[in-house]
Amino acid sequence: MASISALVASSAKLQHFADQSSEEYDRQIRDLVTSLHRSLSSNALNFAANDPTLLDVGSASLWNRPENFDPATDAITYLFLLRLQIQTLQETSQEKLPADLLPSRVLWTKCVHYLKKFNPIQVRYVGHEWRQLIELVAQAAQAASKPFLATQLIKDAMLRLDPSCAVFTSTHLLLVRLCLHAKAYTCILPVLNKHICHFPGISERFPPKGAPVLCADHESSLAFITNNSGLSAPLGSRDLSRYFLYGGMVYLALKKWSEASHFLELVMAIPTTGPVSMIMVEAYKKWVLVGLLETGKLRPPPSMIAPNVYKVYQSIARPYINLANTFELRDLNRLNAEIDAARNVWSADNNSGLVAQVLDSFTVHSLVGIKSVFAALTVTELSEQTSSLPRDTDLAESVIASLIMSGSVSATLVHTPGHSEGTMLRFPSAHPSSQLHELQVQGRLARESNTLEALAASVKKSNNDIGLGDEFIDHMHKSKAWNSSGTDYSVAEDETRFDVDEDIMGDQI
């Protein structure tokens, strides 16, 4: 492919096969990729290295030129040419991030155009190049101190490539880090809210016979996001811990305590053979504080964490345990003293903000405690009971009213005729959950249903992989359960064979 017309011809040929069978399309794409690689290594594409109009975007007059490639139909050719132009510029300028690649400059605009429009099927064949472009865009935005510019782009590109986002990739980690830097917390929620079920390439060792080609429709994105696809850099458990820790921090910034807890627990529960990592300890410290914010007490350890690991956490994060224990005593003076005593610890751990929020939540949790004892009491009496409330009854009432209005405390205020000191606070007898609106219940059920469906599909896939895995087969050999009678021990082939009769008294009838 030594000329623009050859590129245009191969592009037209590819588009012709887009509507044909998957196998034909697959063959054409692979041929194109091989041909472009060969042309690059033989410098046959050098004619396009400095042609600014070739990938022009936005110009109406140029747009209709046949040699203008469109990422929506020519994702592969466009990407190769774009990378070639970037590499040429890098070589001429001797810089990894030349000025033209920085936001709002020529090459940046082309990268943006590409990431907004690329064909998600075609890039499955050029994962390595696609990921390099994503990383370059992220670096350019950060170099310009504008990480926000890359967040939306990368998030949309990820969802375009894999709407399920169920396979963990290095782009997940890159994006969450960028969003934290840019303080664009809501931007990453569409990705964070999805369930990660796989690492790339777990099933790659045993591709099923007659597996569909890359460009075909796949039930799971695991079929095309593999170790060799290049769509993700090599990953380890440390990357996964970081992702969940940063994700937890995003939820913390949005004050979504429950989601934050869940993410932090995932970090704390990552299996480890050696000592726990600093990331895990960091997650534990934040988890203790989130527990205080959400429930007002030190929560019991999650069941998925081994007791010995939990003890290690407790011994390392002693100031946090002391803080939680003092918080539970509902003594404001002691709590203030505890916070002051370990101020350096909170600061060193970057948890000062969370600790300040814990202190702010003291009144809420004090009121919740009082609620379990009293059905009603006056604001004056309440001020005497709760050290954090102002002594002035008007001010105290204002604080209580704001807590009720914010939904933090479930109660009502009642003014009595004549004198302001007689304002009553009443706690409802009904359990708050009984007051949930029908639509809220329905919404929750629908969310749970979606989650279960997503997980069920992935569990089936994982089950199948485990059944075919070396470890499982070795285990079956060792446990002597393997015999020559031809019994099938496949985990997923027929799940019903492991069913237990629910009616255990059935045989007595």
Binding site: A99, L102, P103, S104, R105, A141, A143, A144, S145, K146, F148, L149, Q152, L153, A182, K183, A184, Y185, T186, A253, L254, K255, S398, A401, S402, I404, M405, S406, G407, T412, L413, V414, H415, T416, P417, S420, R426, H437, E438, L439, Q440, V441, Q442, G443, L445, A446, S449, L452
Partner: protein
């Protein structure tokens, strides 16, 4: 659909429109990258510091769009948007934030809402100078804030003195203290009861069903869903 260019005319057009809050938010959020590019920084050598007036208009408008947008949350609408609005204020270029009076007003407003200082919220919305282009949005938020506060007060108080209720809604508290009938009627029009003997208002709880993307097909469908699991 292609988004119109990021120009002062376009932003003004969006801000003064009566578009529903979610639409307003959606449109303005799509311009944030353009605003980010236009603001001063090494990444925008061509645009330099951009057009500060236009950027301030954009960020102020987007800030109000955050405050107006409803989200699914257990918290009242007034408060649930706070973390996101706060994140936006952290993304606004520092030079703009520190020098533009309307952005300063936005920051003060955010603080007042977070601290539940209702009187201060009304003082900021009504008393501080806002650019003409923003006045429509400010007025819109004032009305929204009043409505949401009325709902919150109606479920937080079983009985309330008129002056306190008037304070929450930004009405004349001194007149309310003297049982001003115009003010009392504003509450009774909402279904509240006025007892002249006790001189107390008895709110009738206003409950707003949560918005849901699914059609409200009732408990039967919910139970059917349970049955499938």
């Amino acid at each position: 659909m292609e988004l119109p260019s990021f120009t002062k005319e376009q932003i003004t057009k969006v801000i003064v429109s009566n578009a529903p809050p979610s639409q307003l938010f959606e449109i303005l959020s799509q311009y944030e990258s353009d605003a980010c590019l236009m603001s001063a920084g090494s990444g925008s050598p061509e645009t330099g510091a951009g057009d500060p007036e236009m950027l301030c208009l954009y960020y102020s408008g987007f800030f109000f769009a955050h405050l107006l947008t409803k989200q699914m949350s257990k918290f009242p609408i007034i408060l649930q948007v706070i973390p996101e609005a706060r994140a936006l204020t952290q993304r606004i270029p520092v030079t703009l934030k520190h020098h533009d009076p309307s952005l300063q007003n936005c920051l003060n407003l955010l603080r007042a809402i977070w601290q539940n200082e209702h009187g201060q919220v009304y003082r900021i919305l009504r008393g501080l100078p806002w650019p003409d282009t923003l006045k429509h949005l400010v007025k819109r938020y004032e009305s929204f804030f009043q409505d949401q506060t009325l709902i919150a007060v109606s479920t937080s108080y079983e009985a309330i003195r008129p002056a306190v209720a008037a304070g929450y809604l930004g009405l004349d508290t001194q007149a309310a203290e003297k049982d001003n009938q115009t003010i009392i009627q504003k509450f009774t029009d909402c279904g509240w009861t006025w007892n002249p003997e006790t001189r107390l208002l008895y709110p009738s709880p206003i409950t707003v069903p949560p918005t849901n993307s699914q059609p409200p097909s009732g408990i039967r469908e919910t139970m059917a869903m349970l049955g499938n699991r």
